[in-house]
């Protein structure tokens, strides 16, 4: 990947610029150090809701105008919220990158929180949550996560609890926005076909006048060590086969154990890439979980995830069972594999395979300006400025023994939360009927 220029403006805004001239496009991103980790009971889901409100317009650009303008200039756009951050982007033909600068500098401080818009968005977000609730795997994951954490805000889903979504007020939203949306709590990233010095001037013009705000409130809660296995069960109709999930407390991205665990994850289910959201599914079929569970006909799918996170997080393992297979057997097979990776160092061939997958993910992630901006922005927030520069050296330095030790430390009984989903009986019914009456002059 080409070098990145990192600048910090006097108001605290971090600017990351990477020139890529392979195609005449550029992507512009605004990242904020706010997500569900910054939420307390009663306002869960508020960061995500604020993200939705940032599409509702400002005094100069009305509701719906941001997406419309970006499309009209041949661009794509979106926003998303995660535990550690909230991000917005516009990917455009390179000559229109200033549109991204204009939109993001405007809505960083000028977003309208009209009460009527807050109310119409409330039901949109509840609809988003209810769509997820239809999926038993999601329901189980929500239970596992909240059982694994007792204290830290990672315990609740980014979307938030439904009761909170009914109760959050316009003023709650506005307060959250003012507390976290400021240049000193943000990172802007541009990747693409531009001249960095020129672009930095334009970014400085647009964002430099926005005053820094008071430092946002820090996350105080620290998850205490777990002292024994926790188990949860979800029973409900609406699924076809049981699901088994496991979660183990794992360190933050800044821990020396992170890189060994990233490779352990690669051994278990294929190397996913350096970022928070992983890359293509590489290395799945020769991975240990696939061989132990899918090839041995216990599960139709099996996987694991070790995502970089700002605070101590979870190493997750999961399997969707074959019909007629008891979850006890699948759980035992998963635990065997986790024990093995903590007992015996990984062999050279197997490690070489995972390292090649890592190299491939790195190369693949350079095709397209947006994936590069995702890596730059997310890792600046989750890890630190030097994380990607040192990524390869630190990954290469990991020894099989360090992997074994990290696995043994992580995959212990006392550190484990196990969740089972059982589908309850209940069949679908089909009916046909008349169409609803539609007034022809509605």
């Amino acid at each position: 990947m080409t070098p990145t220029v990192r600048t910090v403006l006097p108001n605290g805004l971090v600017v990351l610029l990477r020139e890529v001239h392979t195609a005449p496009v550029a992507t512009f991103w605004a990242w904020y150090r706010v997500g569900s980790r910054n939420e307390v009971p009663g306002i869960t889901g508020i960061s995500h809701w604020v993200e939705h409100m940032l599409f509702k317009g400002t005094p100069t650009l009305g509701k719906g105008e941001f997406p419309r303008l970006v499309n009209r200039h041949g661009g794509t756009w979106n926003g998303f919220t995660w535990k550690d951050f909230t991000a917005y982007f516009e990917t455009l033909p390179a000559e229109h990158v200033d549109l991204g600068i204009r939109i993001e500098s405007d809505r960083m401080v000028n977003t309208l929180f009209e009460p009527a818009e807050v109310e119409s968005e409330r039901t949109v977000i509840i609809s988003e949550r209810e769509g997820a609730e239809n999926n038993p795997e999601y329901a189980l994951y929500e239970e596992v996560e909240s059982a694994a954490y007792r204290v830290h805000a990672y315990r609740h889903a980014v979307i938030g609890y439904k009761s909170d979504l009914w109760a959050i007020t316009r003023d709650d939203l506005y307060h959250h926005y003012r507390a976290f949306y400021a240049p000193n709590n943000a990172v802007v990233v541009a990747v693409g076909d531009f001249d960095s010095a020129d672009l930095l001037t334009r970014i400085t013009d647009a964002f430099g006048g926005i005053p820094a705000a008071a430092a946002p409130p820090a996350v105080r809660s620290v998850e205490p060590p777990q002292e024994g296995e926790r188990r949860v069960v979800v029973r409900r109709p609406g699924g076809a086969v049981p699901i088994v999930q496991m979660a183990f407390h794992a360190p933050a991205v800044t821990s020396p154990d992170f890189f060994p665990l990233l490779l352990v994850d690669g051994v278990l289910s294929g190397f996913k890439g350096p970022g928070v959201f992983g890359g293509e599914g590489l290395g799945v079929r020769s991975s240990r979980l696939y061989r132990a569970l899918v090839e041995r006909e216990l599960a139709v799918e099996a996987g694991s995830a070790c995502r970089p996170a700002r605070d101590p997080t979870l190493f997750e393992v999961g399997a969707t069972l074959r019909p007629e297979v008891a979850p006890e057997r699948v759980e035992a097979a998963i635990l065997d594999e986790l024990r093995r990776v903590g007992d015996e160092p990984v062999g050279q061939d197997e490690l070489a395979r995972v390292r090649k997958q890592a190299r491939a993910q790195w190369v693949y992630a350079a095709d397209g300006v947006s994936p590069q901006a995702v890596l730059l922005g997310s890792m600046e927030i989750v890890a630190d400025a030097g994380f990607l520069e040192t990524f390869w050296d630190r990954l290469s330095a990991v020894t099989p023994e360090a992997m074994r030790e990290a696995a043994a430390r992580t995959f212990s009984e006392r550190n484990r939360t196990v969740g089972w989903y059982f589908p309850e009986p209940g069949g679908s019914t089909v009916s046909s009927g008349d169409a609803v009456e539609v007034p022809h002059d509605a």
């Binding site: 549109l99 239809n134 993910q361 589908p423 679908s428 509605a442």
Partner: protein, 432 residues
């Protein structure tokens, strides 16, 4: 609108022109297209074969999907396990997947492994062995997927819509994955026979983009696919005509354990080759895609707060796929949402463009070429479409003219012709 930057008209970045593409028909009839690109030290392949579920015999639905899934599970020189190991050792992917109209295959690998992957691709496509134990594994996976989809409101709304909107015998009427009873009896002979009949090089397209030498890619594929039996011509099965229903049809599926209802409301749409394609596609953009999901998003989501997702989509392929609006809503808002969707369709027919929507759609379609063709995968997919739909390698040069030639009257006419308010189908999957 206040001082918004003006889009530059007419400047389009075009990575596909006759000069930039090597196009070669191999001796066996397969067409290879290559574009060299130095964006990443990798190779991306997208390919297509006419061996989709449209070829499934009556009562054997799921055969095309199962056959495709077995291609990477055993071939002349590889067991399933050794192929998995070979791919994983290279950090590469090689996938083959059947859809309703055809089979798509894809490769992603580092440039240093390009030759090895092209060889593997050739072996997988032309010499699968269909090991019985691997068939069983894939069959269980397929049946599990069928059972899961019966519990999935989005999947069931879609399946129910297609069964009602398309006539029996039409490939869009039938489920791609089949039913448990059609998948259960499929045996090795069925898969081998399906492969023998439908997997042939005539009509096959392979698009390759990346840090490769075009001449080497063509030579390697020529060799890797040289054993491919040309075979007697097999015309694709005849497909019955599909059009609007005689009256509005409504179907409901109730599924226990659910919170949200999903809606699919639409009609059989238009094929990619239809003369209505450009106008209808722009009607679709205005109805439910542009900006925040077009007019549907502006009213049903943004104003009324009814749905997190509500959008329209026209699947214009070799056949006329569905042109449908999809939405997820609270069950208590189901009728209100359906009424709102119909109201927006009526509005589109009466007033196809308003407030600069024509320019929005035109500028988006022409301007977004650069972004759509930014990645190797984007270029490969476009090359595939250009070949599959016989658009010509100068297509992207002609494209802005085609888009700017569409009039509001044509957009309105397309909306009236297809989105028939006296013959649409609405399928809902609701909590039981």
């Amino acid at each position: 609108m206040p001082d918004a930057p003006r889009p530059a008209r007419g400047r389009v970045a075009v990575p596909i022109t006759p000069e930039q593409i090597v196009r070669q028909r191999l001796a066996n009839g397969a067409v290879v297209l290559v574009r060299e690109s130095r964006a990443a030290s990798a190779m991306t392949v997208r390919g297509y074969l006419r061996a989709g579920a449209v070829c499934d015999p009556e009562g054997r639905e799921g055969l095309a999907l199962l056959t495709a899934s077995l291609l990477t599970r055993g071939s002349a020189s590889h067991t399933s396990e050794s192929l998995g190991l070979a791919l994983d050792s290279l950090g590469a992917t090689l996938s083959v997947r059947a859809d309703i109209e055809g089979v798509s295959f894809a490769v992603h690998c580092l440039s240093e492994d390009a030759s090895a992957l092209l060889d593997l691709l050739g072996e997988v496509l032309t010499q699968p062995t269909f090991p019985p134990d691997e068939i069983e594994k894939q069959r269980v996976k397929l049946i599990t997927g069928i059972r899961e989809s019966r519990n999935d409101t989005r999947a069931m709304a879609d399946k129910t819509f297609r069964a009602a909107a398309y006539p029996a015998g039409h490939p869009y009427h039938r489920p791609l994955e089949g039913e448990e009873e059609t998948v259960a009896p499929l045996g090795r002979d069925d898969l081998a026979a399906f492969h023998g009949r439908w997997y042939h090089p005539r009509g096959a397209v392979v698009a390759v983009v990346g840090d490769v030498q075009a001449a080497q890619v063509v030579a390697r594929l020529d060799s890797a696919l040289s054993g491919w039996r040309v075979g007697p011509p097999s015309d694709l099965p005849a497909v019955p005509a599909a059009g609007p229903a005689a009256s509005v049809q409504r179907r409901t599926v109730a599924i226990p354990g659910k919170t949200q209802a999903d809606i699919v409301l639409g009609v059989p749409g238009f094929a990619r080759a239809s003369p209505d394609f450009y106008a209808a596609m722009m009607a679709d953009l205005i109805l439910g895609r542009l900006g925040l999901m077009g007019r549907l998003g502006a009213t049903l989501r943004d104003e009324e707060g009814l749905a997190y997702y509500v959008y329209s989509q026209a699947q214009a392929g070799l056949l006329a796929g569905p042109w449908a609006v999809r939405a997820g809503v609270s069950p208590k808002n189901l009728d209100r949402a359906i009424t709102g969707i119909v109201r927006e369709i009526q509005g589109l027919q009466r007033e196809p463009v308003r407030d600069g929507e024509l320019e929005d759609a035109q500028e988006y379609l022409t301007g977004s070429l650069a972004v759509r063709l930014e990645t190797d995968a984007g270029i490969a997919q476009s090359l595939l479409d250009i070949e599959l739909f016989d658009l010509g390698l100068d297509y992207l040069l002609r494209y802005p003219g085609l888009i700017r030639g569409v009039t509001p009257e044509q957009i309105g006419a397309a909306a009236v012709r297809y989105l028939r308010l006296d013959g649409y189908t609405v399928a809902t999957a609701v909590p039981a």
